[in-house]
Symmetry: C2
Subunit: 346 residues, 2 copies
């Protein structure tokens, strides 16, 4: 497959997965409550290299910067060189820096430890990860009655329990019994929601259980995020939560409400807590279909960094497509690395 074909294929898949679902990803009624900058008055994003005086002006005009983590400020366990200096300098200049990640494998406390270990200044309240935001959603929209069946890591249950929400599910669930038994597996009658997160213990039995709970139309169906790739170090990646969401959606014949980017709920969690002004907030990310689309959805300025998943070629291909849906994936600016913004703060 040539690079061009690969980019086209990737663009196709992004649209397949984000296209018709975009509205479904914004939890119901949220857009109205959120004071978003009207799309019509925004200039069309051009995906321009951000550097020189323009970089200084763009950063100067912002109160808050939202940073995605994987592929933006670190890759796996290694910080992107210069990222910590940038973020610490932004904070010294009085900017608010928040961390906004779709990764559901860690609690806010675990992220804070990781950030500090890699040299970033961070408080727990600065971290918006999907495990925590899913717990917030379940607590608020409306308060979850009964337990949550979690396909995900222990971090998810930990965040849920910290907000008083009971859950079951994490850990292995290997095949048991014969095919005839699987339609009648024992169920916990107190389960009122299914939450799909990144689950390395994902198994056919878990798929059967999730589908069984979701047969009840009163059972809520959430997904932390729909990223199909989870980036690791050195450009490697493994299948992401989105692959599992696809399987459960197909089994349940229902569409999950997605908590993570590009759903506006992630931004709203931060915006409500800190009184953010979308017009003075920048989203910095490495994925067009999550980070940049979140920015477009919420009326933020957007900067794509090329140290992660999406390529400049993909962004330009969306920009030049002439298709409205694809245009929403185009960032205002791009940088090769967030460290390239350091001179703009001198």
């Amino acid at each position: 497959m040539s690079d061009t074909e690969a980019a086209r294929c990737s663009a196709y898949w992004e649209l397949q997965f984000t296209g018709d679902r975009r509205r479904a990803r914004v939890p119901e009624g949220r857009e109205k409550a959120l004071d978003l900058r009207p799309q019509s008055v925004m200039a069309a994003a051009e995906c321009r290299l951000l550097s020189g005086p323009e970089a200084s002006a763009v950063l100067e005009a912002a109160d808050t910067l939202l940073f995605d983590c994987d592929g933006v400020i670190w890759r796996g366990e290694a910080a992107i060189p210069g990222a910590a200096q940038l973020i610490n300098r932004l904070q010294e200049r009085g900017k608010r820096v928040l961390y906004m990640t779709n990764n559901s494998t860690k609690t806010r406390a675990m992220y804070t430890d990781k950030l500090r270990g890699l040299g970033f200044r961070a408080e727990t309240q600065d971290v918006f990860a999907t495990a925590f935001c899913s717990a917030l959603y379940l607590q608020q929209k409306p308060a979850q009655r009964g337990k949550v069946y979690v396909l995900g890591a222990e971090a998810v249950s930990e965040e849920l329990r910290s907000l008083g929400i009971a859950c079951i599910g994490p850990g292995p669930d290997p095949l048991c019994g014969a095919m005839g038994d699987w339609a009648a597996l024992p169920r916990d009658s107190d389960v009122g929601a299914v939450l799909v997160a990144f689950d390395p213990h994902f198994s056919y039995m878990k798929l059967v259980r999730a589908a069984a709970y979701l047969r009840d139309p009163g059972c809520r169906f959430l997904a932390t995020n729909t990223d199909t790739r989870l980036p690791l170090e050195a450009g490697a990646a493994i299948p992401g939560t989105g692959c599992l969401v696809r399987a459960v959606e197909a089994a349940a014949q229902r569409t999950a409400t997605v908590i993570g980017k590009p759903s506006a709920f992630m931004f709203r969690c931060a915006a409500e807590r800190f009184g953010l002004d979308p017009a003075r907030t920048i989203m910095v990310g490495d994925r067009l279909d999550t980070d940049i689309l979140l920015g477009t959805n919420c009326g933020l300025r957007t900067i794509l960094t090329l140290t992660g998943v999406s390529t400049l070629q993909e962004a330009e291909s969306h920009r030049d497509s002439g298709e409205a849906d694809r245009r929403r994936l185009v960032p205002d600016y791009y940088v090769h690395s967030v460290a390239d913004l350091l001179p703009a703060l001198d």
Copy 2:
């Protein structure tokens, strides 16, 4: 969820999953080679109850009847009452009866044993199941070089090996190692195809391995079928192969070539072997998006039976939709049970 909503939701999902993919499901170049009855000269399917003199005339005009199995002639381990009598009578009247199932959990030999055990007359050559047809496809289109990584039951490897195709994969593959290791799991360098079938041992590790093999654009990507539900006895069902296909497609960012119904390849396997005339062949099935669509795709007469997955309401909703894509899911006729056709043979 009301019945109407459920039907609408189900129709939506059928289209979501069959819509854009319909062409991809017909293995390349097959339509031309197959002498299909031109769609333009076919009368629009009306989904009429088939009974009385019309039933006699329809059966009289057919040389061959293709029967789906689950939900049509049996449910789980129990035969549909009267189905064996019908099929045996059809054979006595000189009709050819073939069994065409998307279920990949059994070899042809296992199906023949099951059919005979439930009172049906059957020879191994009369059975077209997706495990066998996938092996045929891999043998012919073109001959598979290297091994096949199978997500599926032992029956699939058995059919592959019986046609001289080496494979690996069936059985449990539980989580091992830490996240950092998963992108570099040991791979068999001789694998040249991935085949997704019904795999109750499906796990995250299998998803990782499948995605890793499929990163090579030269690695073929097949799925036995895309049914999202596998019906069991008494109306129960468990998640079907289609759910697993969705997960692997999302992980690989590629679309699988589907062997089973509604792909014309299933019909072609039978048509080539027995010299079938599409205009004198009837497809009898319980699913609109597999059985009936196969019939439409191949220019066959179609009969929906209501003992399985799809409902009359769904068929009528497609018929009355005025949408060309949905019209292709409408059968010519329906019966409440295949046993209702018995009087037509008196």
